[in-house]
Amino acid sequence: MIPFDYARPATVGAAVASINKDATAQLIAGGTNLVDLMKRGVMSPQKLIDVTRLPLKEIKEANGIIRIGALALNSEVAENETIRKALPLLSQALNAGASAQIRNMATVGGNAMQRTRCPYFYDTVMPCNKRQPGTGCSALKGYNRMHAIFGASDKCIAVNPSDMCIALAALEATVIVAGAKGERRIPILDFHRLPGDNPAKDNNLQKGEMITAIEVPVNKAFAKNSLYQKIRDRASYAFALVSVAAALDIKGKTIQQARLAMGGVAHKPWRLTTAETFLKGKEATVANFQQAAALALKDAKSYGHNDFKLTLAPNTIVHTLKTLTGI
């Protein structure tokens, strides 16, 4: 790890000022991803701004919206009674991620900011457009078993590794950010971006902005019927091959409204809007679930080692919906 400076600002304003002033500065909270990346030389900030003492840990509900401070720990949010009751999908997704130790360190804001786990991004001797723009994508013709099937480009086929963000995408959360010019609200689906020609940029945060909170609207129908299903190489403590966050508003056998998002398949949380639209007003049957899954996979593209995801993904969608509706 290269030497770096360290500062511990006492206010959000001071933290924002620090990253505005110094382009080589980087915020650090749990550090579970950043310290790892710094040890490997993938990221080398010259200054760390420790935000862990800022008063951004609160979880509170008001007017049907739950606001989660950016520094609330993943374990705190997953175990929080309000979250467990009103947003069980989020609690499940958080508990499906990482290990108990890491969830005790990682924050909600940090989770949304985590970088891809593409092995070529981590391997500093290999070309990677995300780590070193213009060098090429090693995964495209390399070992790409973990990689994207949606929205990738010829510059990058990496996936976003977050479980939390997949649940947040299904729940239509909003990311609240503070910058030099004040506060800005970004819908979660507009927060992360697709790689396009600039895979180095994971999200749409502007220079000098930091996440201060996440807001999630409460929907009682979804709270009753939601499930996060994660498929991985071992039973626990592994990144998703594919994951599905599903929430249904269901009356009798009829689906009033469906929310579906997938993880492990794209550079950002992947919302399955076509499948959602198809399921609206339909009966909860295996045939309908299969048709929805087929629609969801319409634009999928695989790269060799991840061909299996073209089968695993729709199967996981159907399995999740079957489990959720008990059929």
Binding site: P3, T32, M105, A235
Partner: protein, 209 residues
């Protein structure tokens, strides 16, 4: 809680630090050619490291307060092992994948290899060395011995720290629960069934404080 003053203290030596940061110890040595040969003999690499900026750190480890000076890039694990000579916490992978470095910070289990020491200012750390009560082993240590919860023993300090926290968190209700909440601790010898038995035994005998 941090206050503005503390931030000022941390910033105080900023200019010196910035210079040194861009002038690595090695480069600083080559800039002094007369002393070069002697420098190598005197292990100047180590001495050069002393010139990197250190920051104050107040920390309590196993009930004992420490007032230290640390470089920002020192992890909590390296601080414990290299500076405080508490070598019970193990460096398995050093990348947060194995759990051998698990310690408790303010009672919560965390990975010390991914924690920067300087960020733990004012916190209370418990390592495997702090678990026993005088000459008496902690019930979890006893249970690991009784149930053969290890073979080579390298992952054991992390397993035990995690196991104590697992019970404290209320995540040791059944085998599946224990396996899920102990998944951050890898055992290459495969002592998992015995580790689960050890944890269940401690729960049965009244849990942990």
């Amino acid at each position: 809680m941090t206050n503005e003053h503390e931030d000022d203290v941390l910033r105080a030596a900023h200019s010196r630090r910035s210079f040194l940061k861009r002038t690595t110890a090695a480069a600083a040595i080559t800039l002094a050619p007369a002393a070069l040969v002697k420098a190598a003999e005197d292990k100047l690499d180590e001495k050069g490291a002393e010139y990197f900026e250190k920051l104050p750190l107040q920390i309590e480890v196993n009930g004992k307060p420490y007032s230290l000076q640390v470089e920002p890039r020192v992890t909590l694990l390296d601080l414990l092992r290299e500076q405080l000579h508490l070598t019970g916490s193990k460096k398995g992978c050093d990348y947060g994948q194995c759990g051998a470095c698990t310690v408790h910070v303010d009672g919560q289990r965390v990975l010390s290899c991914l924690s920067l020491a300087v960020m733990q200012d004012g916190k209370k750390i418990t390592t495997i060395e702090g678990l026993q009560n005088g000459d008496d082993l902690h019930p979890m240590q006893e249970a690991f011995i009784e149930h053969d919860g290890f073979q080579c023993g390298y992952c054991t300090p992390g397993q035990i720290m995690s196991a104590v926290a697992c019970i404290r968190e209320g995540h040791a209700k059944n085998d599946a629960d224990i396996r899920e909440y102990m998944s951050g601790n890898i055992c290459r010898c495969g002592a998992y069934p015995n580790i689960v038995d050890a944890i269940k035994d401690v729960v049965k005998k009244g849990g942990v404080k």
